[in-house]
């Protein structure tokens, strides 16, 4: 089953990070990606620019509307994701626990609904 980890954090927590801190962060994430690959469960990942750079678009009311900014203003925002392929939620939870993002933010685990509908 494919699971996506949505990584939520408060950008303010990263405001004071030095270039050395960032380099260390990258290393930590690199190791995590390596572990996922080695286990053969890695599907995809990305790291996103801050939510205040987002562009939100909708055709919901019949016409195109574009908004400068995220669809909802919240303190904790989506900062990136991991997609992995593991047998069940227990395995997904075990990987999420190991994800570096869990240390300073929250990880929402969602199963893929592709094929269910």
């Amino acid at each position: 089953m494919r699971y996506t980890f949505l990584l939520y954090s408060n950008p303010a927590d990263f405001a004071d990070l030095t270039p050395e801190d960032w380099a260390k962060e990258k290393e930590v994430y690199g190791a995590y990606i390596g572990a996922l690959q080695e286990a053969g469960v890695f599907v995809d990942t990305d790291w996103l620019h801050p939510a205040n750079t987002a562009t939100t678009i909708t055709l919901k009311d019949g016409e195109k509307r574009v908004q400068d900014g995220p669809f909802a203003e919240t303190k904790e925002t989506l900062g990136g994701f991991f997609a992995i392929d593991v047998p069940d939620l227990d395995a997904a939870m075990a990987w999420a626990e190991k994800c570096p993002a869990a240390k300073h933010g929250k990880i929402e685990i969602r199963a893929s609904a592709m094929g269910d509908y």
Binding site: M1, Y3, P87, L89, D90, I109, A111, A113, D116
Partner: protein, 404 residues
């Protein structure tokens, strides 16, 4: 004794098989709702056929076959709608193996108490999927509307399927934590109506814990919980007299179920031999001290006080703290009991009924009758079950008589 009617026997057999069959049907797809639907059809067929033709030699296998066929039919029907070449999953159904079925029922209990499932719905979910209780009956016991309960149960089952919660018994290293959640859900079922109402749920909870003790014989706390519930169940007939609560030390030991008590004691011994102490074993040990009165004729308050000390260190709760004060009041004296009560540092102590009842009891023995009457009145105003309320009212009435 009257022979049960074929209808009643069919119902009993079908019910006893329920949880196993749900577990077997749902374990592969994770779809509890589909399993329940298929089973309910199989039950209808059984209740129609069995009373006429007799109960089949392997009733569970019979029910499983009918339910599986029904699922295949359903899958075919669905397939026609979606148009796909895929072979329905249930064509290759698991074979019926008794030992396997036991494991699957345990797995189902772990699914119901999974950390990804809201703690408040774990007990109702377990009652429904493992024992087949109707949502309506569960709702009544939990004092919520049937539609709200049904909705929450459906939501939980949908989550189990869509989130991919596995139907497995967790690995040994994850077991203590996961087992704790299962035990809590079972104990939750026990506490719902143990004193008032029909006691149906407490009976079901006892059944659930017996399953656990059978299937997880290495879990000291599973054995401990089963012993605990067993000790309390053994006093069922002595607990309430003419609608009034009878406190354990005053109960008529002749009304206790000695057989159940000794089985519970044996379980507790087995649990303690596993060398993993836990709250349920300590609580069971407390009940075993009470149970010993049927042999010794008296209550060992010192032993109770020590056990409560241990329980408070391991698993501090307001209930245990108040009980410890009550026990110390008997062991050392009411002044000491009162002192302990006043020292309890819990935000909800003011609205905790038992605290006021114990306080009243201590004050009576200290001769402070006016204060005692006030404490009883406060306890009565906080009391939510009828037998306890009547008991408190009787105490207050006796006190007023003494005062006038």
């Amino acid at each position: 004794m009257n022979e049960p009617t074929p209808q009643a026997r069919a119902e009993d057999v079908a019910r006893a098989a329920y949880g196993k069959l749900v577990a077997m049907l749902a374990s592969r797809s994770g779809d509890i709702m589909a399993a329940e639907d298929a089973l309910s059809d199989a039950f209808v067929a059984a209740l129609k056929t069995w009373p006429e033709r007799g109960i089949p030699e392997k009733p569970e296998a019979w029910l499983l076959t009918v339910a599986k066929n029904r699922r295949i039919d359903q899958a075919r029907k669905d397939a026609r709608l979606v148009i796909t070449d895929e072979v329905p999953e249930m064509v290759e159904a698991p074979s019926f193996e008794q030992d396997n079925a036991l494991d699957e029922r345990l797995a189902l209990m772990f699914v119901c108490a999974h950390p990804a499932i809201d703690a408040a719905i774990r007990t109702p979910l377990m009652l429904q999927t493992v024992l087949g209780l109707e949502a309506e009956d569960i709702a009544r016991a939990f004092l919520v509307s049937p539609s709200a309960m049904a909705q929450r149960l459906v939501r939980a089952k949908k989550k189990i399927k869509s989130a991919g919660i596995p139907f497995v018994v967790p690995e040994p290293e994850a077991q203590p934590e996961r087992m704790a959640a299962v035990l809590e859900a079972v104990y939750g079922a026990y506490s719902v109506d143990w004193l008032e109402g029909s006691g149906d749920l407490s009976h079901e909870a006892f059944f659930l814990s017996t399953i656990l003790a059978d299937q997880a014989p290495k879990s000291a706390e599973a054995l401990g919980l089963t012993a605990l519930i067993g000790f309390i169940e053994a006093r069922r007939d002595a607990r309430v007299r003419e609608g009034v609560l009878v406190p354990v030390p005053e109960q008529d030991v002749e009304l206790w179920d000695d057989d159940l008590t000794s089985r519970s004691a044996a379980l507790l011994t087995r649990a303690s031999q596993l060398g993993q102490i836990g709250r349920y074993q300590l609580e069971a040990a407390i009940q075993s001290v009470h149970a010993a009165r049927s042999v010794t004729g008296s209550t060992d308050w010192r032993a109770l006080s020590q056990l409560y000390d241990g329980l408070l260190r391991l698993h501090p709760t307001i209930g245990a703290a108040v009980s410890r004060a009550a026990v110390v009041a008997e062991d050392i004296g009411p002044a000491e009991g009162l002192k302990l009560l006043e020292r309890i540092n819990a935000p909800d102590i003011e609205t905790f009924q038992a605290a006021h009842a114990v306080k009243a009891h201590c004050l009576v023995r200290l001769g402070r009758v006016a204060d005692a009457a006030e404490a009883y009145a406060r306890a009565i105003s906080l009391c939510t079950d009828l037998p306890s309320r009547r008991w408190l009212e009787e105490n207050l009435a006796a006190l007023r008589k003494k005062m006038s």
